[in-house]
């Protein structure tokens, strides 16, 4: 028998491209300060659509970090993914020379809700405006929701297990769980996460069919979950990529273990059936806690899904109480995404990044723009709360009915 191995899945790197920051440091500063950056939609072609407020990534120039030949063949959502992956790998101190030594030991897992809408719209306009001969060949790959996994792996030369999770917004958490499983099965590291770019005209029009989308035009009032003023969610772009790495591999190269991906659960309760999501989300939480061997009382902070639709908010508050018992009404709950908007699959990955940073910094970030909670929850509002979270629970639900929960443990947790 060989030496006992520690194949626990550790987070060793975080890369963020978010509406409130293009680096992990700026993202965390804006997040713990409760800065709200949801704002009037300014993206070209979207100005006159009924969606008025969104979380746009405005300070990002893809050409600063990504080679032109990758830019011409990819959509904005993949630009974000390539940049966030670079940031995460740099953060984990895994440079090209390190990963080139054993390319089969590192892979990529992403989740995407809508793929490359902006690129696709441009090519479809050429198709109907000029004819099929004017559609560029890269349309065949750029729109596809698997594009980010493929391009990140090609660009960085990763040849380990690669996959794409297509499971609704909760897929962001499922991708991290999938990465953790790959690591436990023997791959040293997976770059995992999600980035989205749903703020192009075609993509916005697709979202107008969602009853849950906020039509409010005043940024401060557009996304206020868990209040009587809840009027839907504000969409966002950007996202995060994490390096999920085997604990022993991380230790062998002297890398810091930031947190463990300790447990995950996923269920499905059907599109827009928010009352039913209560049971589904509670079950996902129970599964995640069971896998993490975590008692409900050990959960120190909950990063809520926080859809902003009264029936969905009620179901989530009840699901937390169902799964955590009396602890569910005492544990601090937060939803920093009210300050950035909800980036579909990317939203729970940003929440996971915030959860890791929250445990590192001993601060629970607040829920911007939200006051006067109408549910039995200890929602952190106003200012960040000083605490020592050692176990974080991240929740996500999708508009199409997926529910997921992820348990993260601080390295000092048992």
């Amino acid at each position: 028998m060989s030496e006992p191995q520690d194949r626990r899945a550790a987070v060793t790197g975080i890369g963020v491209v978010a509406p409130n920051g293009i680096s992990t440091d700026t993202f965390w500063k804006a997040t713990h300060e409760g800065l709200s950056v949801v704002d009037r939609v300014t993206r070209e072609g979207c100005e006159r659509l009924p969606l008025k407020v969104a979380g746009e990534v405005r300070a990002f120039d893809a050409a600063d970090t990504i080679e032109e030949r990758f830019l011409v063949q990819t959509d904005r959502f993949t630009h974000y993914a390539m940049a966030a992956a670079d940031f995460a790998l740099t953060d984990a101190r895994l440079g090209p020379a390190d990963t080139a030594q054993s390319p089969y030991s590192i892979g990529v897992v992403t989740a995407a809700g809508s793929g490359g809408g902006e690129f696709g719209q441009r090519e479809l306009q050429r198709l109907w405006g000029k004819g099929s001969r004017f559609v560029g060949p890269y349309q065949s790959i750029a729109w596809f929701y698997a594009a980010s996994t493929g391009q990140v792996s090609i660009r960085r030369g990763f040849k380990g297990p690669c996959s794409v999770v297509a499971s609704d917004e909760a897929g962001g958490l499922d991708a991290l769980a999938h990465a953790a499983r790959a690591v436990r099965r023997g791959t040293d590291a997976i770059v995992a996460g999600s980035t989205e770019a749903p703020l192009a005209p075609y993509s916005v029009v697709c979202q107008l069919g969602y009853e849950e989308l906020s039509r409010e035009s005043e940024p401060g009032r557009a996304y206020r979950p868990f209040t009587t003023e809840a009027c839907g969610f504000v969409p966002a772009e950007g996202g995060a990529m994490l390096v999920v790495e085997a604990a022993d591999a991380a230790r062998a190269r002297g890398a810091d273990i930031r947190a463990y991906v300790a447990g995950h659960g996923a269920t499905f309760t059907g599109a827009a059936r928010w009352a039913q999501s209560r049971a589904g989300l509670a079950q996902a939480i129970r599964q995640a806690l069971a896998e993490a061997e975590c008692a409900p009382e050990e959960v120190d902070v909950v990063f809520a899904d926080a859809l902003g639709v009264p029936a969905a908010d009620r179901a989530e508050a009840l699901a937390i109480a169902d799964a955590l018992g009396a602890h569910g009404t005492r544990v601090p709950v937060t939803a920093p995404k009210t300050g950035t908007g909800r980036g579909y699959c990317a939203a729970p990955v940003l929440d996971t990044a915030a959860a890791v940073l929250s445990m590192e910094h001993g601060l629970i970030p607040p829920t911007p723009n939200v006051h006067d909670i109408c549910h039995d929850l200890d929602l952190v509002t106003g200012r960040a709360r000083v605490a020592e979270p050692r176990t974080a629970l991240v929740l996500s639900r999708g508009l199409m009915g997926s529910n997921s929960a992820l348990v993260l443990r601080h390295p000092s947790a048992r």
Binding site: R69, F134, G136
Partner: protein, 84 residues
């Protein structure tokens, strides 16, 4: 019908495949593979499509299978000259 020059090919490589290469480079080392230059199969397909639209004439099917700029220019220019 005019021949396609290295200048034109370099511009198309930039536009369709995002690859920056100077006409001088293409002249000096015309046998450097498209793969080495960073033009993948879809990129070459895009270059062929641009040429077809620009010149209003189909390119030979083998054009998108050429391995080097030299091969590509020979094939495409022979076709254009033959059709002229």
């Amino acid at each position: 019908m005019s021949k396609i020059t290295v200048e034109e090919l370099a511009a198309l490589m930039k536009k369709a495949a995002g690859v920056t290469v100077s006409p001088e480079q293409l002249n000096d080392k015309p046998d450097t593979g498209f793969d080495v230059l960073g033009v993948d199969s879809l990129g070459l397909l895009g270059i062929v499509g641009e040429l077809e639209n620009e010149h209003g004439t189909p390119m030979p099917v083998d054009a998108e299978r050429c391995k080097t700029p030299q091969q590509f220019l020979n094939l495409v220019n022979n076709t254009l000259m033959a059709g002229a």
